[in-house]
């Protein structure tokens, strides 16, 4: 899980062009939106693209988005539970 969360932080920075942010600046349980990393609705769509591109996972229910993308940890948990080879 730690390796996956570390990878995710690097991928989030690259996907969202967060050039002033380093992976170590993002806490495992830090909120990604609003008061945390300050991501917006377009960033949310880019995170869905990241899941598809990097992990071949399609978010089946859009209403799950706020829970899945709450923190790096919740993203990692969702990926672990939904990776095709684990299905």
């Amino acid at each position: 899980m730690d390796k996956l969360m570390s990878d995710l932080k690097t991928q989030i920075i690259a996907q969202l062009n967060l050039q002033d942010t380093k992976p170590e600046d993002i806490g495992d349980d830090q909120p990604l939106f609003v008061e945390g990393l300050g991501l917006d609705s377009i960033d949310a769509l880019e995170l869905i693209v990241l899941l598809q591109q990097q992990y071949k996972i399609k978010l089946s229910n859009a209403e799950d988005g706020p829970k899945v993308f709450k923190t790096v940890r919740t993203m990692a948990e969702y990926i672990t539970a939904h990776q095709p080879q684990n299905a």
């Binding site: 969202l16 062009n17 050039q19 002033d20 377009i42 769509l45 880019e46 693209v49 598809q52 591109q53």
Partner: protein
């Protein structure tokens, strides 16, 4: 004012951003057209512009270029061959650069983006003159912001209804003279 010899547009834009020590994380998410226009506007307004003189509704932006948002349209189209990029899609209109500038400075006045083969000083004088003479605007940022592949150009003017010490008259001739001076 600033020179970055031999650099490609992406590196040039970041170099300008760093040179002027700007702090605006969203800059890095913009497309090249928005970055170029946004930076040109930052430089235009630094030191000389007192926005406190105006209400947000009094400050407008009128821009033009030859290639619309084609530079980003092409990049976005490439992403659609795999997974379409939402972040690219939101920049597939040329007037988004006006939005980025307006968000930065809280400008809420009339705005427009026109596509033309070349900078048309006569049109700018007529269009913006009409907005100012009819008290729709008290102030307007206008000019040319164009990007396509490796070619780019930004030339902006600050038009204010009230004259200041170093201002020149807002005429087609003066716009043309300054534009030509900047662009050879």
């Amino acid at each position: 004012m600033f020179e970055e010899k031999g650099s490609e547009l992406p590196d040039f834009l970041v170099a300008v951003y760093r040179h002027f020590e700007l702090q605006y994380p969203k800059f890095h998410k913009m497309d090249y057209l928005s970055k170029l226009g946004w930076l040109a506007n930052e430089i235009l307004l630094q030191d000389v512009f007192d926005k406190e003189k105006y209400k947000p509704e009094d400050i407008g932006i009128v821009l033009s270029n030859a290639n619309s948002s084609l530079d980003t349209d092409i990049k976005y189209y490439e992403t659609t061959k795999t997974i379409a990029s939402p972040a690219q899609f939101v920049y597939t209109l040329p007037n988004i650069v006006i939005g980025e500038i307006s968000i930065r400075h809280h400008f809420k006045g009339e705005n427009a983006f026109f596509i033309a083969e070349a900078f048309d000083a006569g049109f700018m004088e007529q269009y913006i003159g009409n907005l100012i003479n009819n008290n729709i605007l008290q102030c307007c940022i206008c000019g040319w912001v164009d990007v396509l592949d490796k070619n780019y150009n930004a030339t902006l003017f600050l038009i204010e209804k009230d004259k200041s010490a170093n201002s020149v008259n807002f005429t087609k001739e003066n716009l043309t003279k300054i534009y030509q001076l900047q662009n050879g």
